[in-house]
Every structure is written in C-alpha cells, then in structure tokens.
C-alpha cells in the first residue's frame, strides 16, 4: 500500500531531519522536566494547540521488520496511519498484529532479543532513530492492554496520576488532571465518590476505562489499544467503543481486535495481517478504508478472513 505522493515527500523530508529532531526532542523533554511545573503545563497546552495541522500525529511506517531473536515475526510493513482517526488491525492469532502494535511504542523490544528494522516516523521523528530513547517514545505514545491492569496498590486517583508522577514528584493541579482524565474516559460519574479507593476494586469495564484515563492523563500523541475489550462483557465493550469514538477527536488511535464487528463499528481504516504458515513472518495483506475492506476487499485472503473462510 503506497502512501499518497504528498505524504511520501513529507516522510522523506522528515527522515532527513529525524536524527536532529530526535535530539532536540530529548533536550526539550529534559528542559521541561527541570522547568517550573506551571510553565511545563503551559508548554504542553501549547503543544496541543499546535497539533491542529493536517498531518500532525500521522504515523508513517516504512519497511518495518520485527524480530524475536532469530525469528522474524513481522515482515515488510509499510503503512501510513491517519491522525485523529481509528485504525483497526485484524487478522488470525499469531499473525503479528499485536507485535506490530507494540512496536509502535517500542514496547515489543522489552522482550530479550527482540528488535526492529525499519522506520516508524511520528511528527518528523523516526522512533527507531539511533539517538531516540524508547522511554520518551512511550511517554508520547500511550497504550491500553488486553486485560485491565490498574496498579493494584494504588487508588483510583493515584492510578490516573501514575504517568505524570514519573515526571514530577508533585503534579500541579492534580485534582483537575484526575477529573479531566476520568471525564475523558467516561468514568468520572461512576468513581468521583471513591477516588481514594483501590483501583482494583472497580469492575472490569471500569478498570479498563481507568487504564484509558491513566493513558490519556499524560496527554500522549497516539493511543494504542491491544484488544482492549477481549476481557470485557458486551455492555462494558459498548462503553469502551463509544469512548474510542469520542477519543479519536483528539488522538490518533490504533486498535488490535479479534472482533470484526468491533473493527467495523469503531474504525475508519482497517489493516488485515496474515501469516502464510507456522514459523513464517506475518505481513500486512491489505490496508484500506474500513468500509471498503468489509464490502469489497481487493485481496481474496481478506475476503476469506472477514467472511469466516480461513486458509
């Protein structure tokens, strides 16, 4: 799937600048950490105003191969993920879609021996550029996991603030951040009276929304979701899907799902990953508008998968 010509030029331009900007980015972060917290808060607000540009927070992936040691898990992915839209990744188990998702915030490489080869460019920075610190990448690209995983020893409010507290001991306007993030995750009304109770005491669906609140509290550029509803009942699933639709106003969202109805309901674009056989790398078969993918896909493999005929 080749990106549109305009995008390609932008990508190439950003590739050339990638290293420089990565360095600036790091320095900027350090400055911000050191600076007056109020100034830091203002800076991040300015950031979000700046993010109105057409292609800000677009993710351009070029020729990405992902490895676990000698095993090549994903091969040759090239795609451009639209900003402020939901991109769904579907495909059979073991096809590498989760690995691919985790490579977008450099989380797949925490497994010993795992590494990536290729380019993932976000706002002019190649996430895999030589000088890029994966920790800073993850501060910009949040993630929500398969099972809800609030920190069990922390209260609801502490969970929301967990990411911010990594940057600063004291979070200015902590109460405001907690309320704003919980409202953003459609959870505020349900938990506002028990903010100091353990986060693990909530229901599964509430815990997952708490995790979303925790992820958006740090104001990331991108939100990754790895089968966020697979452990939830249909009602909680619906609540999360509604939330995803609201969140895409602000965030670039990439979601891996096994549920094709879910992909059809929430996403604007869908990518289909497949695998030729055991031990072979997964690859991106087709990537298009969700509507097209589910009505008239170009590839036969896609049609077989979405209509329930495998192999």
């Amino acid at each position: 799937m080749s990106p549109e010509p305009a995008t390609t030029t932008a990508t190439e331009q950003s590739r050339m600048d990638a290293d420089d900007q990565a360095t600036t980015g790091q320095a900027g972060q350090a400055d911000r950490d050191a600076a007056n917290p109020e100034l830091a808060a203002m800076a991040s607000r300015t950031d979000s105003i700046d993010r109105t540009g057409e292609d800000t927070n677009r993710i351009d992936i070029t020729d990405l191969d992902l490895y676990y040691g000698d095993f090549k898990a994903v091969e040759g992915v090239t795609m451009s993920i639209d900003p402020r839209a939901v991109t769904a990744l579907i495909g059979p188990s073991g096809c590498g879609k989760s690995t691919f998702l985790r490579s977008l915030n450099r989380l797949h490489e925490v497994i010993p021996g795992a590494y990536a080869d290729g380019k993932v460019v976000l706002n002019g920075n190649d996430l895999y550029g030589g000088k890029v610190d994966p920790v800073l990448v993850r501060r910009k690209i949040g993630m929500v996991f398969q099972s809800p995983n609030p920190f069990p020893t922390m209260s609801v409010a502490e969970n929301v603030l967990a990411g911010l507290r990594l940057n600063a001991k004291k979070v200015p306007n902590a109460d405001e951040v907690v309320e704003k993030s919980l409202r953003g995750a459609n959870l505020w009304d349900e938990v506002k009276d028990r903010l100091d109770r353990p986060g693990s005491g909530l229901s599964g669906g509430q815990q997952q929304r708490l995790c979303i609140a925790r992820a958006i509290a740090v104001e990331p550029d991108v939100l990754l979701m790895d089968e966020p509803c697979s452990a939830l009942d249909p009602i909680s699933t619906l609540a999360i899907e509604d939330l995803i639709t609201e969140l895409k106003e602000q965030y670039t969202i990439v979601i891996v799902t096994h549920n094709m109805q879910q992909a059809a309901r929430v996403s604007d674009k869908t990518g289909f990953f497949n695998i030729e056989g055991t031990g072979r790398p997964g690859h991106l078969v087709e990537y298009d508008k969700t509507e097209t993918m589910f009505t008239q896909p170009a590839e036969e493999a896609t049609l077989n998968y979405i209509s329930g005929r495998f192999g």
């Binding site: 915030n105 989380l107 925490v110 010993p112 920790v135 800073l136 990448v137 993850r138 501060r139 910009k140 949040g142 993630m143 996991f145 099972s147 995983n149 609030p150 920190f151 069990p152 020893t153 922390m154 967990a162 990411g163 990594l166 353990p198 693990s200 995790c211 925790r214 992820a215 740090v218």
Partner: protein, 321 residues
C-alpha cells in the same frame, strides 16, 4: 463412599455394577492418607515434646540461689541482658542485610543478563549452605580485623552517637562484627525469597508502567516493589528467625561481657546472646545452674515463635487482587 453407591437421578446408565463396589485403588488411597496424617501428627508431637522438655527443665531455675548465677540476682535478671543481646544483634543484622538482599534480588531479576543472574542465584544459595562455624572463623580472622579501620573512622567522626561510641576494640570482636557475620548468613534467605516474589510480578503491571514511559527503576518503583512488599517482609522475618537462633558464629566472634546491656557496637564490652551463651556456658555450669540455661532457651524458643508467627501473618496477607 455413599456417593458412589447412589448415582445421581439424572444418570441414564443402566449398568449398576459400574457405580457400585469399591475401587481397587481405594485401599492405597487410605493407606497414603494414613501415612501423611501420621507425619503431620508426628511433627506436632515433636514440637510439643520440645516445649514440654524446656518448661520442665527450666522450672528449677525459679528457685536458684542468687549466688549460683553469675552477675544476676535471679533468673529474670540473668535472662534479660541475654534476650536484649539476641534481639539487638539480630535487628542490626536485619537492617544491614535487607536492603542489600533487595538490591541483589532486583539485580538478578531486572538488571543482570539471564546467564549472570543464574550464576549469581547459585552463589547466593551457596552462601546459605556454608556452615555457621566457618562463618564464625572467617568473622574472627578476616572480617573483624578488616573492619577495624572502618570502626575507628566511624567512632572518630560519629562517636557522639551512643551507637558508635568509642573505644573501638582492637581485635574487632564486637557487636558490629557479630551483626555483620549474621547479616551475611541471613542475606541468602532474604535475597532468594525476594527474588521469587519479584519474578512473580505480573508482566501486565510492569508493561503498564513501561507504556507510561517508566524507566527501569520507575517500573521497579511502581510495579515490582509494591507487588513484592509482603513477600520481602516475610523473607526478612525468616532471616530474623535465623539470626535470633544463630549460635556458633556469635559464640566465636563476639567476646561477651556477662550481664551487660549496652548499645555501643564497637567497644570490647558487648552483651551476649541466648544461643551463644548456652553454647559457651554449658560446659562450666553444674546440674542445678543448667536450669537457668534451659530457661533462656525457652525464652528464645518463644521469641522465635513470635517472629515466625508475625512473618506468616505478613507473608499471608493477600495483596488484594
């Protein structure tokens, strides 16, 4: 087995013989049940026997004439300084060993490459296997002299703190060296228990922290340590239990002053511990005076019980998820 003889009403099987009668392996099952129950009862009887023996042997100490006990009016006055020394040395050892053990466990689980971590794990377990008399000798000839300059420095600079009060004993055979030796001995227990609980940290919680942009230390702080807290405390209590009962190493390293209660750890005047005192005094005490040693042994027995009980309570505390 009544349940096997009356099949549930919804069973459609007409083969009555299939459900009736006794399985041939039932007898083995009962035999095995008997053996395990016997083993369980035996350990309880042993414990009760030890307790009974200690109580019986120590009763005469209540009527001991004052002149038969060195430096004490009665058995209470004799036991108290020893109990103090026992708890004091064990607590210092625990304070020295626990942070180091946690650091070693974190290194093995989160920093070291897996091969090095494995080797280190073996070495730590090996430390636990060294006999305490060997530790005692090592303490006298290596550790104590080695640390004398450190003691001198601390006494010179921080001597105004009662803990570090001068004069440092030139041999180094003081409370500080004894506590250091015990610390080395309990280190493996605490480190390996901590390692196990750190390894059990749910991957999901570590990844949750990583996805928020946590550095390795921040992952440890937000996910690993809160999860491992109760386990580490349990391990420390197990270590404390061993430290309380340590005999040989202390008997060798520490040169005690009978009847003394004092906090200074560098001087030649040191309180003794119950276990070491029993080992050192036993040959010199006559039949009647030995009841005093049994009494101190009973106190140690109870103290160790209390510590173990606390350890179980803390380790058993569910972490709530």
């Amino acid at each position: 087995m009544t349940t096997t003889q009356t099949p549930p009403s919804d069973t459609t099987s007409t083969d009555d013989d299939f459900m009736a009668g006794e399985l041939p392996t039932r007898r083995q099952d009962k035999l095995f049940e008997g053996i395990t129950t016997g083993a369980g009862i035996l350990i309880l009887l042993t414990l009760a026997g030890v307790a009974f023996f200690l109580v019986q042997k120590s009763l005469p100490s209540l009527e001991l004439p004052a002149e038969s006990l060195p430096n004490a009016e009665d058995i209470g006055g004799y036991t108290w300084p020893l109990l103090f020394g026992t708890v004091y040395s064990a607590i210092i050892a625990l304070l020295l060993a626990t942070p180091l053990a946690i650091a070693i466990a974190l290194f093995m689980t989160h920093y070291a490459p897996s091969k090095l971590a494995k080797t280190l794990g073996y070495v730590v377990d090996l430390l636990a296997a060294v006999p305490s008399v060997v530790y005692g000798l090592w303490g006298i000839f290596v550790l104590a002299p080695f640390f004398v300059p450190v003691y001198d420095f601390l006494a010179d600079t921080l001597g105004w703190i009662p803990l570090f009060a001068p004069v440092v004993t030139p041999s180094g055979r003081n409370m500080a060296s004894a506590a250091l030796v015990i610390a080395v001995m309990i280190l493996p227990i605490i480190a390996s228990v901590s390692k196990e609980v750190f390894l059990q940290t749910p991957r999901l919680h570590e990844e949750a922290a990583m996805a928020l942009g946590a550095t390795r230390w921040e992952v440890i702080k937000t996910a690993v340590l809160p999860h491992g807290r109760s386990g580490v405390i349990g391990g420390a209590m197990l270590g404390l239990g061993r430290a309380l009962g340590e005999t040989m190493a202390i008997a060798l390293v520490l040169s005690p002053t009978p009847g003394l209660i004092g906090f200074a750890v560098f001087t030649a005047q040191n309180p003794s511990t119950i276990a070491a005192n029993i080992a050192l005094s036993f040959p010199n005490f006559g039949g009647q005076e030995r009841s005093a040693l049994f009494a101190t042994g009973l106190v140690l027995f109870v103290a160790t019980f209390v510590v173990n009980y606390i350890a179980r309570r803390i380790a058993g505390e569910s972490t709530g998820y």
